[in-house]
Homo-oligomer: 403 residues x 2
Amino acid sequence: MSGNPAISRRGMDIQESPIRKLAPLAAAAKKRGIRVHHLNIGQPDIPTPIEFWDAVESNMKGVLAYGPSNGIPELREAICSYYARSGIHVASSQVMITTGGSEAVLFALMATCDPGDEVICFEPFYTNYNGFATIAGVKLIPVTSRVENGFHLPPSEEITSGISERTRAILICNPNNPTGTIFTDDELAELADIAMERNLFLLADEVYRDFAFDGREHSSILEFPAIADRAVVMDSISKRFSSCGARLGNVITRNEELMSVFMKFGQARLCPPTLSQYGATEMYKLLTDDYYNTMVAKYQRRRDILMEELHGEEGIFFLKPEGAFYATMRLPVDDSDDFAAWMLREFSVDGWTTMVAPAAGFYATPGMGMDEIRIAYVLEDEKMRQALDILKKGIRKYVSINQ
Amino acid sequence: MSGNPAISRRGMDIQESPIRKLAPLAAAAKKRGIRVHHLNIGQPDIPTPIEFWDAVESNMKGVLAYGPSNGIPELREAICSYYARSGIHVASSQVMITTGGSEAVLFALMATCDPGDEVICFEPFYTNYNGFATIAGVKLIPVTSRVENGFHLPPSEEITSGISERTRAILICNPNNPTGTIFTDDELAELADIAMERNLFLLADEVYRDFAFDGREHSSILEFPAIADRAVVMDSISKRFSSCGARLGNVITRNEELMSVFMKFGQARLCPPTLSQYGATEMYKLLTDDYYNTMVAKYQRRRDILMEELHGEEGIFFLKPEGAFYATMRLPVDDSDDFAAWMLREFSVDGWTTMVAPAAGFYATPGMGMDEIRIAYVLEDEKMRQALDILKKGIRKYVSINQ
């Protein structure tokens, strides 16, 4: 292909998804007849609520037309009511519907940062932030959180030492993917203080806000009035309503100027998917506490199974996850990329193997996370136990042959 | 809000949609009891085919899960079959499903250009290219096409004079939005030659490829083997299947390296909407020539009504549109922005008015298009006649009071 025009540098630079890049090995395993437990991706197994399908069905007619660029008003109002149940009051004009939480993150980065600007981000972080940062030309400045204290915030001076003249925002995920950590009110207050002192936006991915265990209450950055104009929340129905394929999220801010900029980004891509919005509206309207409580109890039980099966195992280290449905843990391996690939290529128990996500892709600092993996606990109890048992056996075997 | 962090420059710079920005005036008119004919936006009125709804219905169960980042294989294969009917042969690995044609354009710009790079674009052009260019940090270099020759290509030296060291691609829309022009094979060959001589990609938005009138055959840039590795086609089901709200498009290239970059951009946003993909697959599979022919005949008839009602009217100038469902025409006004707003604010006939898109937003050169409007002929015959009659009367009135 000599003489062809070159691919862009950002096209070369943008990372391949570390969650999805092992997919070909999984496909090859399945071709060999090996069945795979997927603990590698946050795809809930819970059926999408009937309220979604009913709403889709009753709108299956006529022209599937463009909707408003900021989403249909009924959905934006339903989201306000959902937040009001947690005592958080926002107007529907402060909510904009996006095409997945993905687009919410991209809009937040693009509206607060110009190319070359920097955003503070606590590693390990949701790996797709890397992709959005590359697209937006934004540099993510990692501040490392550690497995030893359950990935809670590092000391304040470690956070502020990452701030430069180009820093525009702090980006958090709370409850956290990939660690399962929920930041305390004190931690959020500390971040709010830093945002004010250093004149930054605070961007919070709160996609897992319902997933808080052991009676914890998740706090939103929308509950800190001092940063009302600095706070941007990114949200999604993907996990809350097991609707990943609907591609619907939203972005919330009380900063009017920022919202008008989100709106312009939204106009460029016309509108989010229409049918999904009808479905989401009815789920927000009709699902009761019972739905949320049942769902959280289910994930908490799975978290408990994770603790029973892996916690305290020799060479495996992690603290009890507090929310979301992930855990990041240290393994007795030097290269978890190699280990995860080996599980798919060479290991199985009774025709089954377990797929996990190597953690290095969740770090921005080179070399970090090489001995860690992320687990998504999104399987039914018995499958979870089986998947974790295979993982445990795989670790022992891998360690024994690599000693 | 003193002391708040600043919005990004790109956030301030990105244009408000000139198609959508008059929406508040339309809403206000409706509130006053005035009904509005929408000739301002390319929202087809044709019902979404039953094949779409049937496919959605038969997938309304279980978990609405993430799909593959490049789209479900069945849809990619169905698209290959659709292209094969026009004698264009591409493999399903050369097709990637996107979230609307919008995302296809964005991926094409980001994969071929770095921030600061330039793309040649014939103005007037689909105004949302401006938004994608701002997001991608790409500079669109306008080469002006003119109403006098039906917006066909300007002389070759005008095209090449826009090319600089930073130019990475030529971007066309064919059949054209907003002009209704279809480029001839000779014109496409000329662009292919320039792309080869100047080492550029050729990006073609062929969303309206089915909409060719008077027995014309639309040619794709995929039919020029010499530029196989330079050609990127952006496509969508929005207009073809009257499914704007499905948010489904695709990008096609035979350049493997480029496709692998598209895939990485796609992984960042996980996947396109799942339900829409089931619907699109069945439409591609089941709809026959009869569907396409009926649809094109309908739009051609509307084009003919446009000619009957407006062509040759005093002060109005345009050549017969050849495809798509738009016309860009010169009016006897100095400021079509003001005229379009006036139609909504002050003019009506028997309780109706007509909304059009001012053309300045489709030009990148300041001052161009101030005396032009774009019309989308997307209404049933009688409504079209009524809408155009009101427009004609509005123009006369506006001219008489502004003389």
